[in-house]
């Protein structure tokens, strides 16, 4: 299938004129112009998930200013994007603090915490290391098409879990999701599930 020729749009990101192909996102446009927008749940091989909310930016369109996730927002002519502002920074700081309650020592989060002045001890340490970015779940479903790991439960009880029947067949030879985990807790989760599900089979 031949690639359909896309039209090019021009938008302003942090006072810089940026050209981007129609159908791409504000995040892609910003990164192509060397402008960094922090993300946790974004992965270029996966569909936008818009769950970590760290990539929220201010977008001015048709005279109205809104906050939106850069990873999902399609580019359009004349969009004016501000990747940093007082509000944006305040949101990112709080989001990071909420995530740091789960994984205070995650390198990726610590780097961002420094940038945004987030205090890793703002909230009491939560028992789970998982910040539910869903990278493992979505990579397994969208790229590997195996669905060996999934979300269970809702609300504050939401967690990820490996499905033993699938994981026992698929995961040993794959483990491609391990390095995607921003809190590096995935491997532990997997090992634990494996151990609980198959106590007699060494990993």
């Amino acid at each position: 299938m031949g690639r359909i020729k896309m039209s090019v749009v021009t938008l302003i990101i942090d006072n810089k004129e940026v050209e981007a192909e129609e159908g791409t996102t504000v995040l892609e446009a910003a990164r192509s112009a060397g402008i960094d927008i922090p993300t946790i749940c974004h992965h270029e091989k996966l569909k936008p998930y818009t769950a970590c909310r760290l990539c929220m930016v201010e977008i001015e369109a048709k005279g109205r200013i809104n906050l939106d996730t850069a990873c999902s927002r399609p580019v359009a002519d004349n969009l004016v994007v501000r990747t940093r502002s007082e509000t944006v920074d305040r949101i990112r700081k709080m989001l990071l603090e909420l995530m740091l309650a789960h994984a205070p020592d995650a390198v990726e989060l610590q780097d961002l915490a420094q940038e945004y002045g987030a205090d890793k001890a703002r909230f009491e340490k939560e028992p789970s290391f998982c910040i539910l970015c869903g990278l493992c779940v979505r990579y397994c479903a969208e790229v590997k098409k195996k669905n060996a790991v999934g979300f269970v439960d809702t609300g504050v009880s939401r967690e990820i879990n490996f499905i033993p029947e699938i994981a026992s067949k698929e995961c040993s030879n794959c483990k491609e999701c391990f390095p995607l985990c921003p809190t590096e807790a995935l491997q532990a989760t997997y090992l634990l599930t494996h151990a609980l599900a198959f106590p007699t089979t060494p990993f």
Binding site: C52, R53, P74, T87, M94, M99, G155, S157
Partner: protein, 563 residues
């Protein structure tokens, strides 16, 4: 029943039904709504069946289980026709007396009629009871006059005449113009003009278009949609047939949570009957209109009322909201043009068509037309389903219809809009039921009005709402999931006497981020009760935090300290 193949045929059938029915025939009407079910109306019904056996009235009196009569506080409600004598809180042991004294003897039993708790006045007929007298029941008035499981009852009260009118005399464009001119706004809370949505649905390109009725109501304290659906399902179906005609849709869904078994049952029966009578399916009433309506039973989950989550659930995916930039009227269910309306929006449609937009738009305020049905619950004397004209004040609803606060206690607040809504204190009770007025006050037109008196601790109540949301959020995005988690922890600490200086500010800080950054309306609104309670009842928070004292003596650890 052979299918009816023309609008004229339906009118013939209606006349036939009316000619057989004797309006003066005695009828014992027992409320069959969910609340009365819970108050054991089934035993009352059995008792009536038993009590008329071998009596002179046997075979000469009908026993009808009706739709929700609305006065849930005093259920089970029994009305004896043709006199219209209304008995409240009827127990099976009252039944033999009702049959001998009222049905046969035509006498009123004083102890069973409604007694106003404030004045001691008795009211024999429904329309004399202040709860009913002060309402404007345009959409709910028929519930008590029909058996929702009998389509002929609906036809007998003029049901489906709006469909007849539309098919015989109106073009799809005219229908949409009528809805636009009526000023009807979506009843889900946001208040988007329904006619404009319909117009977008009509203009959307494609042969496959869907219409959906959102009857997924999960707010604690709210039971409006389910009771309107279960009490008069054909009025919803009628509205949807008119919508299908106007927008050229051939398939529709009624989305109901599986925690409403009676609603599901009555809807299924109604759809089946409408199909049998030729009102749904192919070539409706011989008009050439094909429209299939299905019920979709959802596993439950408050978040599934959010439109993208609702559509995901309908498609068989996990009911989680997604970020979308297309309007559903262009790309909705299965990426096809879709018009999603709340149940209360759909039931207004037959009324508008029958009355005409001009008459309909005389009800309400300048920009909010028609009536609104609320669940009036909490510490009011008369709780239940109340239908009021837009523009009425909250004070009138609570004190004139609701009969004020129980046991002579003092009013503290009314919580408008459920877990995503806010508190309205005494000083703001003149706020009117109007989309724009409520929105200006930071509230939405949610389905419930929860009245609380001085014995309620606001901190405790906010904690309750957050506990609810901590389960009912899908848990997908960080600000909603972890924001609720932390706010609930802070509130729990405050209520246990472990609150710290700065907790209020921290709650406000989390609220701001949640409101600005959450993915969907649930997360964005989750801080509603927190922020409005801090605004109006900051002193209560401070009493908990600084003085380690719960002014309402509700929070356990604290009240034990002072006792």
């Amino acid at each position: 029943m052979p299918k009816i193949n023309s609008p004229a045929g339906l009118e013939e059938l209606r006349n036939r039904i009316l000619s057989i029915r004797d309006q003066s025939r005695p009828c014992i009407a027992i409320c069959g709504g969910t609340s009365c079910h819970n108050l054991d109306n089934q035993s009352v019904i059995s008792a009536f069946k038993e009590a008329i056996k071998k009596k002179p009235v046997e075979g000469k009196v009908d026993i009808r289980e009706t739709g929700c009569a609305g006065f849930c506080e005093k259920g089970p409600i029994v009305v004896i026709y043709p006199e219209g004598i209304c008995y409240t809180a009827v127990k099976p042991e009252d039944v033999p007396e009702i049959v001998s004294q009222t049905v046969i003897g035509k006498k009123v039993i004083k102890r069973l009629v409604y007694t106003d708790p404030n004045t001691g006045e008795k009211a024999v007929h429904e329309n004399e009871i202040p709860f009913y007298k002060n309402q404007m029941r345009l959409l709910t008035c028929n519930n008590a006059n029909i058996d929702p499981r009998n389509i002929e009852d609906y036809l007998a009260i003029g049901g489906y005449s709006a469909v007849v009118k539309v098919l015989q005399t109106m073009s799809p464009d005219q229908v949409i113009t009528e809805i636009k001119e009526s000023g009807l706004r979506g009843r889900s809370g946001g208040g988007f003009p329904a006619g404009r949505k319909w117009e977008a649905g009509q203009k959307a390109e494609g042969d496959t278009k869907y219409i959906i009725c959102n009857c997924h109501e999960g707010d604690p304290g709210a039971c409006v949609d389910r009771k309107m659906m279960e009490g008069n399902p054909h009025s919803v179906i009628e509205g949807m047939i008119i919508g299908a005609y106007a927008m050229a849709s051939h398939a529709g869904y009624i989305f109901v949570g599986d925690e409403f078994p009676l609603t599901v049952e009555n809807t299924e029966i109604a759809i089946r009957q409408a199909e049998e009578y030729g009102l749904l399916g192919e070539n409706i009433l011989g008009s050439g209109l094909d429209f299939t309506l299905k019920i979709k039973i959802d596993g439950g989950g408050y978040v599934c009322g959010e439109s993208t989550a609702l559509m995901a659930s309908l498609e068989g995916r996990v009911g989680e909201p997604i970020t979308k930039y297309d309007h559903a009227t262009e790309r909705g269910l299965w990426a096809k043009p879709t018009v999603l309306n709340n149940l209360q929006t759909w039931v207004n449609v037959p009324l508008i068509i029958n009355q005409g937009a001009n008459k309909y738009s005389t009800i309400g305020t300048e920009r909010s037309k028609g009536t609104r049905v609320f669940s009036l619950v909490g510490q009011v004397n008369n709780s239940g389903l109340v239908e009021v004209p837009m523009g009425i004040t909250l004070r009138e609803i609570i004190f004139d219809i609701g009969g004020g606060i129980r046991e002579g206690k003092k009013f503290k607040a009314v919580q408008v809009g459920g877990p995503l809504g806010g508190f309205v204190p005494e000083g703001q009770l003149n706020l009117t039921v109007d989309f724009d007025e409520l929105s200006k006050a930071g509230l939405s037109m949610g389905p419930s009005l929860i009245v609380v008196d001085e014995s309620t601790c606001i901190v405790d109540m906010v904690k309750y709402f957050l506990t609810f949301l901590s389960d009912e959020s899908c848990g997908k995005c960080t600000p909603c999931r972890d924001g609720i988690r932390q706010m609930l922890k802070i509130l729990t600490n405050i209520s246990e006497g472990k609150g710290n200086e700065g907790d209020i500010e921290l709650l406000e800080g989390i609220s701001e981020v949640q409101n600005k950054a959450a993915l969907c309306a649930l997360g964005q609104g989750a801080s509603g009760p927190v922020l409005s309670s801090i605004k109006h009842f900051r002193d209560e928070y401070e009493a908990h935090i600084k003085d380690k004292r719960c002014p309402a003596l509700v929070c356990d650890m604290l009240s034990s300290v002072i006792l």
